[in-house]
């Protein structure tokens, strides 16, 4: 893809390219070295010239079916084979299979006597023979300059070298010539004068006591190329150049969500946690609990049966395990079950590129689902800003390509949490959690925000972050008129509110009792009145009966006297007396 992009913008009369197969180098050079032409690789001692050249040959033979000839002027066949075996190159095997020919050229100046004129036709014959014997397409001359020390006549040598490069071009082989870096010029003996198609400069320099290798394409005739200096590393699988520009943004993404191990944090992230394969940045000032959150995340993942790789650049594994035990996180069983692996290394142990290489190696062998890097900032002390960004980009890309969820902690220096480097790094991250200290009321309290979470609904609320011997808990922070209330201020506010509630409850109960009392009083009044009424009613009845009786007696007396007097008037029964059942006889 990238290659096409380069090519379309280049002039139409394109150089055919010869892919090196070296990670990153082909991206920088837009497809490889100029095919059929010599390329000069120069650099100081120990910067990887021979390895680069050897890898060019080996990859050519293995990946591109282009056999190669290695003419070594410094190291013997055995030494070379042993040296590149550490990169996983089976030079001896390739020689046996006739994919590579190694010719060790050695001249001891003290053993050679000059007498009269000569040329280097012997070198041509040897090289030509080697090329023809396997049909080589690639040639490496490492390091040609040794000849300047072994042959006394420089004039002959120079004219022969000029002829040699011409001859190599005529042969149509893609050649890599290595040369020592000169003090003033690119090479000690001015070889760049003869090889002018492509010059690659390697450099091994020390920044803040940490050595990093760099590669730069100084010159590439007839082609566009990356002109920057790129860090490169020599790992288990050879050289890897880190061109940030070459990273393609085309990894697959997962819709799966994974829990963080802190339920309230999951709730803040739309209730489901992070996306699988996403990169998460966790920044915080010292002592805000970055490692604890990471350990929680690690434990949650390992408990789901996923493999977790924990890169620790500040604490030893034992220390982390012990410290996490104090908050109720038991990591040791997970380590024993092989679900959690720690990798601890001092950041200053070696350079950035070496760290990357080791991390890549660990990732490749352990195949984790989750990678935690605690903290990424110590690692960043190893290099310059641009190097770091390149490294992190590369790392994230590597992890994302493998659908590995990554959590990076980042230590901020206090003060404002959003420092510039952080902002630069954060743009690479999918999610960003911020842990912060709140100072006030003579205490420090931790709070947590979700600063960003790409592709998911997330809470904009600040949460107080509590660490106890039972683990982590997030609680709502009170937002009062004077700002955020945390810790004891939050507790005090809580108590205050509790008291108010209690008072209200008590008042309500009081009122209720009052009502009850009133009701009872009224009840009592009602029953008194009823009693009065009953008494009165009885009295009245009694009077009414008395009246009835006397009337009856009066009537019966009248009847009796009437009978006595023979009266003819009828006796009348009083109707009211009849209504009173039984009281008045009929």
């Amino acid at each position: 893809m990238k290659k096409n992009g380069f090519q379309s913008s280049a002039p139409k009369t394109l150089l055919p390219k010869c892919p090196t197969g070296i990670q990153g180098l082909d991206e920088i050079t837009g497809g490889g070295l100029p095919r059929g032409r010599p390329t000069l690789v120069c650099g100081g001692a120990g910067c990887g010239k021979t390895l680069l050249a050897a890898e060019f040959l080996v990859r050519g033979a293995v990946q591109f079916d282009e056999p190669g000839v290695l003419m070594a002027f410094e190291e013997t066949e055995k030494e070379l084979t042993a040296n590149v075996a550490s990169l996983g190159f089976d030079l001896a095997g390739l020689v046996r299979r006739k994919k590579i020919v190694i010719d060790y050229v050695h001249i001891e100046r003290s053993e050679v006597q000059e007498s009269g004129e000569y040329d280097l036709e012997g070198l041509f014959v040897r090289l030509g023979h080697a090329i023809d014997s396997i049909g080589a397409k690639r040639v490496v001359l490492d390091t040609l300059e040794v000849l300047f020390a072994s042959l006394p006549n420089e004039a002959i040598l120079r004219s022969e070298l000029r002829r040699l490069f011409r001859w190599l071009k005529d042969k149509g082989v893609t050649a890599v010539i290595t040369a020592e870096r000169g003090r003033e010029s690119l090479t000690r003996h001015g070889l760049e004068e003869y090889v002018s198609d492509c010059v690659i400069l390697l450099d091994h320099r020390v920044n803040d006591q940490i050595a990093t290798r760099h590669l730069r394409v100084v010159k590439y005739r007839g082609a566009l190329h990356g002109t920057n200096e790129f860090p490169f590393l020599i790992g288990d699988e050879g050289i890897s150049v880190l061109p940030i520009t070459s990273l393609a943004l085309n990894h697959k993404v997962s819709g799966e969500r994974i829990a963080t191990g802190i339920p309230r944090l999951d709730a803040m992230l739309g209730g489901k946690g992070f996306f699988r394969g996403s990169s998460i940045l966790l920044t915080g000032t010292p002592g805000t609990g970055k490692t604890i959150v990471s350990a929680n995340f690690a434990q949650a993942a390992a408990r789901r049966g996923e493999r977790v790789l924990f890169f620790s650049f500040e604490e030893s594994p034992d220390q982390i395990i012990r410290n996490m035990q104090s908050i109720g996180l038991r990591l040791e069983p997970l380590v024993k079950r092989g679900l959690l692996r720690f990798h601890s290394a001092r950041p200053s142990l070696y350079g950035l590129e070496m760290h990357l290489a080791t991390m890549f190696k660990e990732i490749t062998t352990f195949k984790p689902h989750v990678v935690i890097i605690d903290p990424i900032t110590s690692l960043m002390d190893c290099g310059t800003n641009s190097e770091n960004k390149g490294m992190i980009t590369r790392l994230i890309d590597h992890l994302k390509a493998g659908q590995i969820t990554s959590l990076f902690t980042s230590l901020t220096q206090g003060g404002h949490a959003l420092q510039q480097s952080e902002a630069a790094m954060s743009s690479l991250m999918d999610s960003w959690l911020l842990l912060q200290d709140y100072e006030g009321n003579g205490e420090r309290n931790r709070v947590l925000y979700v600063l960003k979470a790409r592709g998911m609904a997330h809470s904009n609320q600040i949460r107080e972050f509590l660490i106890s011997d039972r683990g982590i808990d997030l609680v709502d922070a009170y937002i009062g008129p004077s700002g955020v209330l945390t810790g004891s201020a939050r507790a005090a506010q809580g108590a205050l509110e509790n008291a108010a509630v209690l008072a209200a409850q008590q008042e309500a109960a009081q009122l209720k009792r009052e009502v009850e009392r009133k009701r009872e009083a009224i009840e009592r009044q009602i029953s008194g009145l009823r009693a009065d009424y009953e008494t009165e009613a009885q009295e009245l009845r009694r009077i009414a009966e008395q009246v009835g009786t006397s009337t009856l007696m009066l009537t019966s007396e009248r009847t009796a006297s009437g009978i006595l007097r023979q009266a003819d008037a009828k006796t009348v029964v009083h109707p009211r007396s009849r209504a009173r059942n039984g009281k008045v006889h009929s």
Partner: protein, 109 residues
Amino acid sequence: MKTKTVKPRAAAKLRPLAKLWQLRLYVVDSTPKSQTALANLKQFCETHLKGIYRITVIDLLKQPQLAKGDQILAIPTVVRQLPKPVRTIIGNLSDVEHLLVGLDLRPAV
């Protein structure tokens, strides 16, 4: 003048203990250059090693694989196989002085 002073010294330093001088001359193709070298070598041997030398001419154009064994880079090259140790002289052998030193017939000045 000069040859007179050289000759007795050279004769004195000759190593008669070596019964056989085996010399290899590496050339590429039978170019005038190689012819010159061979002629120079023959003349030298006739002068200094009469009767006890044997010259083998190796044409690398025909046998390129032989170049590796004697670490041949420069052409022409003379390799003294015997007597031991092996000595190497590069050039068309026009410089007799250097050839004498190179073949250990005279110590370097």
